[in-house]
Each structure stands twice: as structure tokens, then as C-alpha cells.
């Protein structure tokens, strides 16, 4: 059955949203679908956003019933988030950050971390699947005549900084939810599509060929940067995504926690100790106090009141306050310091032992991360780069954090300061709306674009990919043999294309696990497939989770050594596919597909 709609899904770290556009009408309007969800025990309501939290009911609780499932033992959305504050060991938060974290087996049941025994833990992939499944259920419930999301075209957004493995896992969750017609789209591109949709044809008068748009997306849990160029293309205007930033686990939640810490410290100095519940309530209270201070410049302080734990509201409540000076010091100067263009984030010290946990950004200064991104892609002359180093001329803000005018102004002033120092013009601000919902809207609009209704942003893969090859050299005690990097997928491969077959040969043993080190680079844009790097500059290549493959013998004897070439292609969905092709095939077209999102830890045979 052919799809009637395109559905854009923003599967966010802290919130998800869903937007719909009709395929069979001339009307290119995109509408946001409010998502039915449990908002408190036994109460169902529609909200524009679905908080990305999953709560597991305890045996003492009745089922977390939904109209379409009376016996459900888990909940996602607003109730899951609020109930999770009361029983934190039973809730999964930030599943998307776990999905992109190669330090754990992302298909193994490991969430919630530290859950009590009665919970059967689930994997990051399964958690994402359950969010998508809920969105599907909410769609069916809201539009019973329109069937199921599996019958529609689905555009699912991912951070531009997601590597090939995290993209694969996202698709895996979508396929598990039955979304057969799924395509991936990078979130900053989705934000720009939303801006185009909102401006109609007028967008062409806001951007000219030669413009370079910096998209800054700061959500609840992550910060994402992209550069998109407006280019002359067969006589008309085209768009091309030319660079993406690193995956930075830093967002609005960190800011609320920082403020809660500041206010909590003050309360503690006054002899008011908070318990775990009140610390959670404090973060919420600080968020709303922060929003008031940021949106009303006449306020000097906002009271932060924590209700007592008992039923005696008066006498038992704890009162503190958040002052403007604190917001400016900790938020503006902590997260958005006015730094110079050469002030880069502090590198994370490499710890010998690592605690189980997400690799949060070690430097909270978003402006420093921005400086590093621009130093790499816009200001410096990157070696081996096919891209011209040129500063941005326009900026598009996205993400809930940037709804605050003060924060946008700080980012803008800092950036313009850097540009002026270089004698470049200030950036123009592309006015976006709905900073929470733009990604879902833009994703639905992109679905229309794929049907030829509007302009497509070209870009291809956001990284070049390399496998590590140990160089043949005599073993020296205490020294690891140097590793060379063989480029298997060049930067900017477009959907539906195949990389040239690199001339190098790799030898693998069939029937036994072989591991390859795997690297990505967002800066080496000029390396064709087959390039071998013997050395690279620090930070130029980022090591990704290892690739492990077991080539099924299939006609060969286990233990045989086979010469293969690795060939990359980009699927129609937008994921990277890597295949090992036998140099001397024993059957026609002998090849093996290679898993990019590998399992870590103890291996079960699949």
C-alpha cells in the first residue's frame, strides 16, 4: 500500500515530537500531532511533546493502562518522567545518549542502570523502539482512519554528530516498530527545512548563493552544530551541508542542574538540608525560575519554594531564591562564556578506570565547543580539505534552550566578535519559530521534498570512515605496533552511492571473530576510498566502537585466510553499509556484510 502521509519524528534525548504532512494533496502544510500519553496515574491527555522517559511499574502499582492496552506495566511520557523523580531506579532517561555510546552493548538489557531485581532491563535500542511504538499508538488513536505509521513514510531525525553505528541502531529500533519506509535526517538540517517551510518561497530572498548557515541546536541533553552552504546549482539556489560537529552531551538539563546546585548550596549554608526528593524538586523549581528571569529583564530575583514532604504546606516549606546575578554568572558565564575564538574546550583527561556512565562533555562552555567547531571547519585552513574555509554568514538557532533571548544574544555577540576580529561581516539571524517542534516539522517537510516538492539539502555522509590496519613491523616490548588508517568511505557519500573499491587487501580468517579498529573524521574531506594514513593530527580522527566480524565459512574451511576488500555504500535510508568482498571468490559475488554497531562484552552467538 502506498503511503498517504509523511510523518516526521524527532526522537529527542529529553523529548520527542511528531509532525504530519499529506502526500496526496497540493497543500504542503505540516501539522504537529499532539501525543496522547499518561500525564499522571490513570489520567490520559494530549501534549505536543512526549518526554523521553520510560518507567517500569512496581508490583504494588496497578497496570499503567492505556486505552489500547489495559495491562501495560510500563509508561512513557509525562507520567513516566514525574513518577521517575519519585522512584528514580525504575526509570530510563537519556536513552538516546546511550544509543550513541559505544562503551556499552547497545543491544543488551542494561537500562535502567542499577535497576532493582524485579525489573527486566532493556537495551537502548529497545527503549528507542518503545518510544517509537508509543508514537505509533498515539497516531493510530488520534487518526483512526489513517491506519498505522508502518503504512506511512517516516522521516526519523538523528543528531548530525551520530556516527554510522548509532544511525544503524536508530534504524533498527524503527524497523522493530514496523516502520518499513523509514529515512534518516540530521536534526540541524531538519531545523533548516522547518525554517524553509515556515517562510514559503520567501526563503530564497533571505539566503543568497555564497551564504554559509551555521545551525546551532541546543536541546535538553545534547548540543549539535552544522554548517550548510547556499550554492549556485544549475542556475538556481541549492543547499549543501558541509560540516557537522562532534557529539556533545551537554544541554538544558545540565543548566538546570547547575542552578539547582547553586541554590541548594545556599540553602545548605542556611542550615536547610534537602533530601533526594527535594533536590529533584529544586531542579524543576530552578528551571521555571530561570525561565522567568531570562524572559523578564526587570526581575532581579525569583523565589524558589520547595513544598514540604508532608501535608503541612505552611511551616514545612523551604524557601530560597534564584537571583539574576546567579543566572548570569552560572548560566551565561558558565555555559556561554564570552571567550575568544582560540579558547577551545578542555580536553577530557583519559582516566585509567572508567565508571559506567555516559561520556558527558567535560567542559560545560558551549561557546568553547563552538569555537572548536569553527576553528576546525570555518576559520582554519584544514589540511587535505576540499572545503573552502570561510566563516558563516547566517545563523539559525534551534532547541528549547535557545528560546531564551539572552542566551541567543550571548552566542550571537560572541560569534560576531570572532568574525569582526577576522574582518568578516556579522552573521544574519534567520528567524526560526517553535524551537521545540521545528525538527519534527522539518522532518515531515523533508518527506515532501523527497517527493520533489521543494529543495533538498545535499550533503551525504558527515564523516569519512577508516579501518585501522596494524603495520607489519617487528614486535618491540612495550610498544604497540603503529596503526595505519585505511579510508573505506570518503566524506560526503550520497544516498544510493557506492565508494570505489580500495586497492588494498585485508586478510581475515573465516569462521573466527576478527576485530578492526574503526575511525571517523569530520575534517578530512579530501581522502578518496583507499587512502592510507600513516599519521594524522591529534583530533583529526576519532576512534569509534570497534568493528567485529565473523565471516561465515559458507563453502570455505573454517580457519581459512581470505583476502578481502572493504567496500562502503550508503543505503536509501541514509545509513552506511560496509561489505567485505572476497578477492578470489569461490562462488559468484562472494561478500559478507559487516556490522557497524558492534556488540561489546561477553558475546552470544547470534
Amino acid at each position: 500500500m502506498s503511503a498517504k502521509f509523511v510523518v516526521g519524528i524527532d526522537l529527542g534525548t529529553t523529548h520527542s515530537a511528531l509532525a504530519v504532512a499529506a502526500l496526496d494533496s497540493k497543500d504542503e502544510r505540516v501539522s504537529v500531532l499532539e501525543i496522547e500519553q499518561l500525564v499522571s496515574a490513570g489520567a490520559l491527555a494530549k501534549r505536543p511533546l512526549l518526554p523521553s522517559f520510560l518507567y517500569f511499574a512496581h508490583e504494588s502499582e496497578p497496570p499503567l493502562a492505556l486505552p489500547w492496552d489495559a495491562d501495560r506495566r510500563f509508561a512513557v511520557g509525562e507520567f513516566a518522567r514525574s513518577r521517575g523523580a519519585e522512584a528514580p531506579e525504575r526509570v530510563i532517561a537519556s536513552a538516546k545518549s546511550w544509543l550513541s555510546y559505544g562503551g556499552i552493548d547497545r543491544r543488551a538489557g542494561n537500562l535502567p542502570l542499577g535497576a532493582p531485581e524485579d525489573i527486566e532491563k532493556i537495551s537502548p535500542v529497545e527503549t528507542s523502539f518503545r518510544f517509537l511504538d508509543h508514537l505509533n499508538e498515539a497516531f493510530r488513536s488520534a487518526r483512526p482512519a489513517d491506519g498505522d505509521l508502518s503504512e506511512q513514510e517516516v522521516v526519523l531525525t538523528v543528531p548530525a554528530s551520530f556516527d554510522a553505528g548509532a544511525r544503524d541502531l536508530t534504524v533498527e529500533a524503527a524497523l522493530a516498530a514496523g516502520f518499513e519506509q523509514v529515512t534518516l535526517l540530521e536534526e540541524p538540517q531538519a531545523a533548516l527545512y522547518a525554517w524553509i517551510e515556515q517562510n514559503g518561497e520567501a526563503w530564497r530572498s533571505h539566503l543568497r548563493a555564497g551564504d554559509r548557515v551555521l545551525v546551532i541546536d541546543i536541546g535538553g541533553g545534547t548540543t549539535d552544530f552544522s554548517l550548510i552552504d547556499a550554492i549556485e546549482q544549475e542556475g538556481s539556489l541549492g543547499l549543501q551541508r558541509v560540516a557537522v560537529g562532534d557529539h556533545i552531551l551537554l544541554g538544558g538539563d545540565n543548566m538546570d542542574l547547575a542552578l539547582a546546585h547553586v541554590v541548594g548550596q545556599e540553602l545548605s549554608e542556611q542550615g536547610k538540608e534537602l533530601d533526594r526528593f527535594q533536590v529533584g524538586a529544586l531542579a524543576h523549581a530552578c528551571r521555571s525560575a530561570k525561565e522567568k528571569l531570562l524572559s523578564d529583564s526587570t526581575l532581579e530575583q525569583v523565589a524558589v519554594v520547595l513544598p514540604s514532604r508532608g501535608s503541612q504546606l505552611l511551616g514545612g516549606s523551604i524557601r530560597g531564591e534564584l537571583r539574576r546575578e546567579q543566572v548570569e554568572r552560572y548560566l551565561l558565564d558558565g555555559f556561554f562564556p564570552a571567550v575568544s575564538a582560540t579558547d577551545l574546550p578542555k580536553a577530557r583527561p583519559r582516566a585509567g578506570l572508567k565508571q559506567a556512565g555516559l561520556p558527558y562533555a567535560s567542559d560545560a562552555a558551549i561557546t568553547k565547543h563552538l569555537a572548536a567547531f569553527l576553528a576546525r571547519h570555518a576559520f582554519a585552513e584544514p589540511a587535505s580539505s576540499a572545503m573552502d574555509a570561510r566563516p558563516p554568514s547566517a545563523i539559525l538557532f534551534n532547541g528549547g534552550v535557545l528560546k531564551a533571548h539572552v542566551l541567543r544574544t550571548r552566542v550571537l555577540d560572541t560569534l560576531n566578535g570572532w568574525l569582526e576580529q577576522r574582518g568578516a561581516a556579522r552573521v544574519r539571524v534567520l528567524p526560526g519559530e517553535d524551537l521545540d517542534l521545528a525538527v519534527a516539522r522539518g522532518a515531515a517537510y523533508y518527506g515532501l521534498v523527497r517527493h520533489g516538492r521543494g529543495l533538498r539539502i545535499r550533503g551525504g555522509t558527515a564523516r569519512a570512515y577508516y579501518v585501522g590496519i596494524e603495520s607489519p613491523m617487528p614486535a618491540l616490548p612495550g610498544f604497540e605496533p603503529p596503526v595505519f588508517a585505511l579510508c573505506v568511505a570518503p566524506f560526503g557519500m550520497e544516498e544510493g552511492t557506492r565508494a570505489a573499491l580500495p586497492p588494498q587487501e585485508l586478510y581475515v580468517v573465516v569462521g573466527e571473530p576478527v576485530t578492526f579498529r574503526f575511525f571517523g573524521s569530520t575534517t578530512r574531506r579530501g581522502d578518496p576510498a583507499g587512502t592510507v594514513l600513516e599519521r594524522w593530527r591529534s583530533g583529526e580522527l576519532e576512534e569509534l566502537p570497534q568493528i567485529e566480524l565473523v565471516l561465515p565459512p559458507a563453502g570455505r574451511a573454517a580457519g581459512d585466510v581470505v583476502a578481502v576488500q572493504l567496500q562502503a555504500s550508503v543505503t536509501a535510508i541514509g545509513t552506511l553499509k560496509l561489505e567485505a568482498i572476497a578477492q578470489a571468490p569461490i562462488v559468484a559475488d562472494e561478500r559478507w556484510q559487516i556490522e557497524l554497531s558492534v556488540r561489546l562484552g561477553p558475546h552470544e552467538s547470534a
Binding site: A41, P63, A65, L313, S317
Partner: protein
Amino acid sequence: MDFVQQDVASFSDADIGAAARVVHEGCRRALRAHARVVSVRSEPEGAPLTLERASEDVKLVGNVAGSAPFHGVLRHRGWRVEDFELPQLVGVHDPKLVAPAELELS
């Protein structure tokens, strides 16, 4: 519920003020989540107003006599609920239970 049920007589205005902030913010959030409330009249309060014909929207007070048009001073703008949507109840829950007791396990 905690606020209304508590005897406030012995507490200072500062204590009651602090509690009122919690109650105000919570009530406001709850109301806005379910209803869109708008003013019935947009004119400033205290301004003279002429009402062409009687209507349920505007209650006449003071020297209530005579027939339309009515000339007077707008004292209160009034409130009207434009959209109203309550959450739907699902599952087996006691609707009379406003807030369950809480038992913290450690």
C-alpha cells in the same frame, strides 16, 4: 489541597506568601494545561463603557434600571473558558483519591 486544609491562622504573612507561590504556580500550570481562559471584555477596567444590548456576558450592577443601551463603568473584565479539555481517565483507579499517602522506602 494541603494549603486549603491547613489552619493558616498562626502563620506569618511571609510564610503564607511563600506557600502561596507554590499553590499559585501549581494551580496556574494545572489550569493552563486543561483550559484556555480569556477576558470577556478587553477594555481597561475603570473605563466608561456602553453596552448596546443586555447580554449574559456582562452583569449589570449598581443602579440596575432602565433599558439598553446601558452606560456605565467597567469594573471587572470577566473570564471565559474558551477551550476546555480534561484528561481522560484510564485503567482502574479510585477517582475519589485526590492524593495517595506516601511511604518512602529506603
